[in-house]
Each structure stands twice: as structure tokens, then as C-alpha cells.
């Protein structure tokens, strides 16, 4: 296995862990962290692809997304805090306002 393949498998694994975590846990913060894990999986994939193709675009893009993700993480956590203040719990089940 080349390094790139290893990295892609690693990325896919991270992504899968994230998905499973997101779907199974009900704590909002954990769910949020799971989305971050999915993010990182994708980023590793980018780097791996860049490596495979032999250029720097994948890494540049990963850095770019990383910055955005940092901002987004701050925003997301802030939202979670606000949600907690509203309901006093972190249970995702307590937010079902969109039920049809």
C-alpha cells in the first residue's frame, strides 16, 4: 500500500466513525464533535489525493478548509451553548420544532 492509499483509508475510516457517532449519540456536543471528525476525514482525503497526483492543491485546499472549519466550529459551539441555555439540556431530542 502506498502512503496515499493508507491515508485515504484513514480518511474514510475517520469519516465513517464520524457518521456513526453523529447518528447514534444524542448529546449535542458529541454530535458536533462527530461532524468535526467527518471534516477531518475529508481533509485527510484531500491531502492524500494531492499526494497521489503529485501537486500541492490538495494541501492548500485542506489548509483553506481548516481555517473555515475553525471559524465554523466556534460558531457551532456558540450555537450549542445558546441551545443549552434555552432548554437546560444537551439532548438533541429536545429540539423537534420542525416536526411536520
Amino acid at each position: 500500500m502506498t502512503t496515499a492509499t493508507t491515508l485515504i483509508i484513514l480518511g474514510a475510516a475517520l469519516f465513517g466513525i464520524g457518521v456513526v457517532g453523529f447518528l447514534t449519540r444524542r448529546n449535542l456536543i458529541i454530535m458536533f464533535l462527530c461532524t468535526e471528525v467527518m471534516f477531518q476525514g475529508v481533509l485527510i482525503n484531500f491531502v492524500a489525493m494531492g499526494l497521489a497526483r503529485g501537486n500541492l492543491q490538495g494541501q492548500v485546499f485542506a489548509l483553506f478548509v481548516l481555517v473555515i472549519a475553525a471559524v465554523e466550529a466556534g460558531l457551532g459551539l456558540a450555537i450549542v451553548v445558546m441551545l443549552y441555555r434555552r432548554r437546560g439540556t444537551l439532548d438533541a431530542e429536545s429540539w423537534r420544532g420542525m416536526r411536520g
Binding site: R26, A92, R96, R99, G100
Partner: protein
Amino acid sequence: MAILIPLLPLAGAALVGLIGLRGLRARSHWLVILPVAASLYLAVQLYFQVQASTQACAHGVRQMFESFTIYQWMLAGPDSWLNVSFRVDPLTCVMLLTVLIVSFLVIIYSVGYMRDHHGHAERGYERFFAFLAIFVFSMCTLVLAGNFLVLYVGWELVGLSSYLLIGFYYQRPAAAAAAKKAFLVNRIGDFGFGLGILLIYYTFGTLEYANVFRMIQAGVTVEGVPLESARVTTIALLLFCGAMGKSAQLPLHVWLPDAMEGPTPVSALIHAATMVTAGVYMVARCHIIFAASPYAMWIVATIGAATALFAATIALTQFDMKRILAYSTLSQLGYMFLALGVSAFDSAIFHLFTHAFFKALLFLGAGSVMHAMAGEIDVRRFGGLRKSMPITHATFLIGGLALAGFPFLAGFWSKDEIIHAAFESDMPWLAWVAVVTAWLTAFYTFRMIYMAFYGRERLPEGVEHAHESGAWMSLPLVILSIGAIGAGYLGVTIHRGGFAGIFEPHGAFHDFLSRNFGRPEVSHEGGGHLLMYVSSLIALWGIATAWYFYRRRPTIPMAIALVAGPVYRLLYHKYYVDEVYDRVFVRPLRKVGEICYDLDRYLINGVLWLITLVPRGIGFGLRRWQQGAMQGYALGMVVGLVVVLWWMLMTT
């Protein structure tokens, strides 16, 4: 110079609005009296100019007949503008003088009338004078107009001033309703009038009087196609619709009696002497159009005669002095249209001229009575005012005699001329209608005079003693009564050699107007002699009957009313025209309006609701899938992703 005549009163009105309402208040009338006086002076100057130029040379006449453009107003098509243009000719002069003289006197009278007995101005005093000034402006615009568009402008603006002035006592529901009715009935006429103007443009490509008239005389349209007579008749009848509305002819007469809700000077000025004659003026102005259509002339004459008789019969049974005078006005306007319909255009204008004096006089006299009786105007509630109100009595009597056609007073000359012209025309039976109406006129006029001024003095409750009106009011009465006596002498025509040569026929009035109407034979020639005696007798007979009924044997009228019960009730309720209109037009139309609104709410919105059912139903079906739990949605996404991935792998 001509343009100043309407603008001065307008400036007066604006000044009242700007400074009268704040500073001058009870002295605001000067802001109106002075401009109107100036306009009157200018109109007299204009008259002398026109007089000089008509006598000078043919060229002067031709130039005079062209309208002059003030400015360009609207764009009617490529490279052609509709202009604001004026035109000054003898007819304009006559109308201007009539309007301005009567306006001037009525405005002076109003200074006295619009105050209480202590000289305090009524509420809205300034507003009243501003409205009067707007009226003078509008009426001058109307008569000075050089094309149909400006005529229409003046036409609508006098309607507006009439609306404002009838509704002057706007807190009285009756006054507010009468104002609205006047405006709306006039608008019905204007609907036809407006269409007539559009059709004129459609046919002739211009709205300037001179151009239209020349093309009609040449019998061509703007495309150079020969003019069909049906087209001319349509135009004439549509224009006449406007005249019926403004001059309150059958069947659009209903607004005028109600218009008496306005202050009495307004009734005198607008609803008797000047504005209501605008229809007569318009038909006379467009006599070339009407003359080109015998059918239209027949309609004009018939409607005129019918209105004359119809209104006179109603006047027999009324008790409100102003309403009697209003129906009398209708009747006299009917005479004028009769004259127009039999091509005696100058006679119609002559009657318009004399009528303005004596009818304004009668109304102002009635106003004087009303002022003294604290607003009471029902002749059953008072009587015998002869002693206590000598000036009013004397002038009112002169006015009444002139209206009744008493020999040698103003109405006598002009009315005889009309009857004579009708006999000479091809519709002599209309003349008989006019003769009967003349008798009725004399009768109802003196019925009113006997009831109000003669017999034992009776006063309505709350009035201690009747008193003569002050100088502001008496002076115009006296001046107008001079007019009511003398105005007829300006145009003595048919009584050739009558009365030992005292009244030689000279026809100066008609000569002056002949620049407009040509010189019809009938005015100067013919056997008016016999007619003169007959009509004098008829007038005297009518007066004598009234004397017998209301002075000698006051029980007779009651007996007649009892015997002819249904007829009397029919007349007393004015032939139930208002009620019929209400049932036949107003209520159904309102019903249609309600149906429209219901259609909006139920049908159209119902259809919309049905349309919205489609997305609504789809949404209803899909809502089950919306659990509201975030993880459920995420699971859906993952499943979708897996499906897509699987499909992609399978296809490649």
C-alpha cells in the same frame, strides 16, 4: 387682456385662501369684490373692442373668430398638441357681461346675506367668497374657451364650484347630499359630453372651434372624406347630453331643485342666472354642428318644450319659494332650448340675458325674505310682508312681472320672440306648449307673490318682526330690477311700429350677435303684432287667475287639490322622478357593486384557494416524513449517499 378676466378672480380666491383665512376674515370679501370688479371693467373694454372691430371691417371679424393660443397643453398625436386657447367674439362678450354683472351684484349682496342681523360674519364666510371667486373664474373660462377642451375644463370647474357651494352648509346632510347629487348628475351629462368631444377629435382631428365648424360647413372629415349626417347627429346629441346635465333639462333635471340647499346668493348666481345657462351657451356656440343635423334640432326643441311645461306644472304645487323659483328656472331654460331647437339662436341668448337679470333678482329677493324670516322659506309659514319689507316687495314684484311676461318688461320681449320663432318654425305645435307654459308661469309666479307678500302679516315662530334688509342687499336688488325692466329694450325686434312708435324695433342685441349667428329673417320680420297682444293677455290672465285663487277665494286651490288628488300628489312629488331613478338606477347599480365585491371575496379568492389546494395537498402528504429529529434527517442523508454511491459504482 382676455386672459386676465378669469385669472383675476382666481387670484382673488387664492388670496382668500392664503391671507383671508388667517388675517382678513370678515373683510375677505374685498379680495373677491375688487378682482371681479376689475374683470367686469375689462369685459366692458373687451365689448367695446369687439363692437368696434365688428363694425370696422370684414377682416376684423375674421381675425376675431380665430382663437388665440395661451399655451400648449397636451400631446394628441405626433406633432399635434391640444392647446389652451381662448376666443373672443360677440357671443363671448354677451356671456361675459351677463356673468360678470350678475356675479358682481351677487357678491355684493352676499356681503350682507352671509352675516347675521348684528353684522357678524357667518362661519365659513371667507370660504364662501373664495368659492364664489372660483366660480367666476370657471365660468369666464367656459365662455372664453377657444376649443372644446377648454370648454370642457370650464364646464367641469363650474360643476366643481357648484358642488362646493351647494355643499357650503356641509354639516346639513341634505346639503351634502344635494351637492353630491348635483355633481354626479352633471357627470352623467359630462360622460356624454366628453364622448362627444372625443368623437369630434376622431372625426375632425382638432378641437378648435373654428376648424371644426369650418369642416362641418365644408362637410368633410379630417381625412377629407365626406361627412355622414349620422356622425354629425351623434356628435350633436352627445354634446347635448352635457347641456342636459348642466342646464338641468329632462331627464337630468333632478339636481337643480335640490341644489337650492346652497346659500341663496349661490342659487341666484349659479343655479339660476349663469351656470345653468352654460348648456344654452354651448349649444349656441356649436350651433353650426346642431344646425347640420335636423334630427338633433328636433330633439333639442322637444326636450326644451317638454321641460318647460313639465317644470311649470311642478312649480304650481310647491310651497318653498326657492324651489318654485328653481322649477321656474328649469322651465325658462326649457324655453331657451326650444328657441335653440327652432334655430332662433340669438333669441335663446337674448332670453338667457334677460332671464339672468330677473331670475337673479327673484332669487335675491327670496333670499332677502329668507334672511328676514330667519331661514324660513315656506310660503305657508309667512305672508303679508309687503309693508314690512317694501324694497324687497317692490323689486320682487318687478322680477315676478318680468318672469310672467308682463308687457314691456324684460321677459316679455325675449319670451315673445321665442314663441314667435316657434310658430314660424316647422314645429308650430311646440309654440302652443310654450304658450300654455307662459300662462302657467304667470300663475305660479303670482301665486307665490300673493302668498308671501299680500294678505295679513304672518311670521314664522321665533321671528319677532320682519325687517328690511340692509344696503348691501338692497342695492343689488334695485340695480337688478332696473335690469329686469330695461334689459329687454336692448333687443326689441318683433313689435314693429307697436305702441305709437314708442318701441321701434331696432334689434341691436341681435345685430351684435349676428356675427355669430348670421341674420335670420325671423328676428326682424314677421307678424309679431298679434302675438304681442295675445301673450300680454295670457300673462295678465295668469296673474288674474292667481289673484282670484289666492286673494279672492283662497279656498279654491285647496278644493282643486282635493278634487284632483292623484294629479296633485303626482305634481307635488315632482312626478316621482327621484324615486324612480333611485329604484331603477342607483340601487341596482349599487347592487352590482356589491356583487362585484362578493365575486372578489368568494369567487376569485375561492378559485385561488382551490389552486392552493394542490401544493397544500402535496405538503400534507410529505409532512409525515418530517420527524423533526436531526438525526433522522442525517440518517436519510447517509442512506441517500449510500444509494448514490452504489448506483455510481454499478453504472461504471
